[in-house]
């Protein structure tokens, strides 16, 4: 009988693309103004804005972050640093 051909939703979460990374974005939470831009632009969708002390701050999920540096490049206040990571 037919092999199941459909794929369950969101199963790519198993694919930890963090291993692709050669550089790691490090966010200076202090200086971050919480604009969310990094979170909105990240191609991986792996930055979540979370509430820290009543302020929205980005939290990067390194399991998936490929280290492209887009967030760092676009951060309006340049508070994300790309560090070598391999």
């Amino acid at each position: 009988m037919k092999k199941l051909l459909t794929i369950k939703p969101n199963t790519s979460l198993k694919n930890k693309t963090g291993s692709w990374r050669t550089h790691r974005p490090i966010t200076n939470q202090e200086k971050c103004i919480g604009c969310s831009l990094c979170a909105k632009l990240c191609p991986e969708g792996c930055i979540e804005m979370i509430n820290i002390n009543n302020k929205l701050k980005p939290q990067t999920d390194y399991d998936y972050c490929k280290g492209c540096g887009l967030c760092a490049h676009e951060c309006p206040v340049k508070v994300i640093d790309m560090k070598e990571d391999y």
Binding site: S12, L13, N15, K40, C42, E44, G45, Y64, A72
Partner: protein, 291 residues
């Protein structure tokens, strides 16, 4: 905004690090509700998000072929209609190749039927998935693997097809153009398009790392520059009228050379060709100014 990690498109996909298309897709997803079905054409987006048995999608999603996503969407719509389902939205996602070239005939058929389907074209200006061959969207002067520059070639010698004009010629009620790097604009346009009854078309410039020969962190910058030079203005047409444009009162164009010189695909261009492209931008600025 808690929902930046979008359950409609999970991480773990295989797109290039820094992919402009995937950045745009994230913004599109934020414009949708869970009551949506997606038909996706073959291309980078499909290939990198659905490596069996893993999928990044959190919405019902189907890929059939490269050229037929629009007809598949018509079928989905018909099935929903038959069920009396009036709420579920149907979305098509395709690349520029699937839109400007191989899929155009089927898109025209879909538009002609007037179905309530939103079509989104992620415009990487080439066939990214198969290794950056020229598409109908490839701009003048761009080097691709089928329009390489060389002794007898300046890269692509065709100008970019005007898909917006073609969409407008089909009488679409909602037609818009935007670019990766403008996430809120993308999200808002998607939301707006979904309120229109009848077919809608949104085209999003999606800088491609290997295609444009740019650095991993430059996709968004390039999207913005394309808009700022006037080469790829942000546009919105409702019922055939241009109701908003990035070429407005405050528009101060950057020279196209800034844009071209930042990209490997244009780096062979000589002054003459750059001038020609500057001219294309100037014409756009004339044509799309909304003051």
């Amino acid at each position: 905004m808690k929902n930046t990690i979008n359950k409609f498109l999970s991480p773990g996909h295989n797109a290039c690090s820094g992919c402009g298309q995937l950045s745009a897709v994230q913004a599109v997803m934020r414009g949708l509700t869970s009551d949506t079905i997606i038909a996706n054409a073959t291309g980078c987006l499909e290939v990198t998000t659905t490596a069996y048995p893993q999928s990044s999608w959190g919405l019902p999603w189907i890929h059939s072929l490269f050229e037929n996503a629009s007809s598949v969407a018509s079928g989905i719509k018909a099935a929903l209609d038959k069920k009396g389902n009036k709420t579920t939205k149907v979305l098509v996602q395709a690349g520029d190749g699937g839109t400007y070239d191989i899929g155009l005939g089927l898109i025209s058929g879909m538009w002609e039927r007037g179905e309530n389907i939103l079509y989104i074209c992620y415009d990487t200006e080439s066939y990214s998935n198969t290794g950056i061959q020229a598409s109908g969207s490839t701009p003048y002067g761009a080097a691709t693997t089928t329009t390489p520059n060389g002794e007898k070639s300046i890269g692509s010698n065709q100008v970019k097809k005007d898909m917006l004009a073609i969409a407008l010629a089909h009488g679409l009620k909602y037609v818009a153009q935007t670019a990766a790097g403008f996430p809120d604009d993308i999200t808002n346009k998607v939301k707006k398009a979904l309120t229109v009854s009848g077919p809608a078309y949104i085209q999003i410039l999606s800088p491609c790392i290997p295609g444009w020969k740019i650095n991993y962190n430059e996709a968004v910058m390039m999207g913005k520059l394309a808009v700022k030079t006037g080469l790829y203005p942000i546009l919105e047409y409702i019922n055939g009228s241009l109701i908003s444009s990035s070429i407005n009162n405050n528009f101060k164009p950057e020279p196209v050379s800034t844009y071209l010189k930042g990209q490997g695909r244009f780096k062979h261009l000589k002054d003459e060709e750059i001038k020609y492209i500057q001219n294309l931008a100037n014409e756009n600025i004339k044509k799309y100014s909304k003051v």
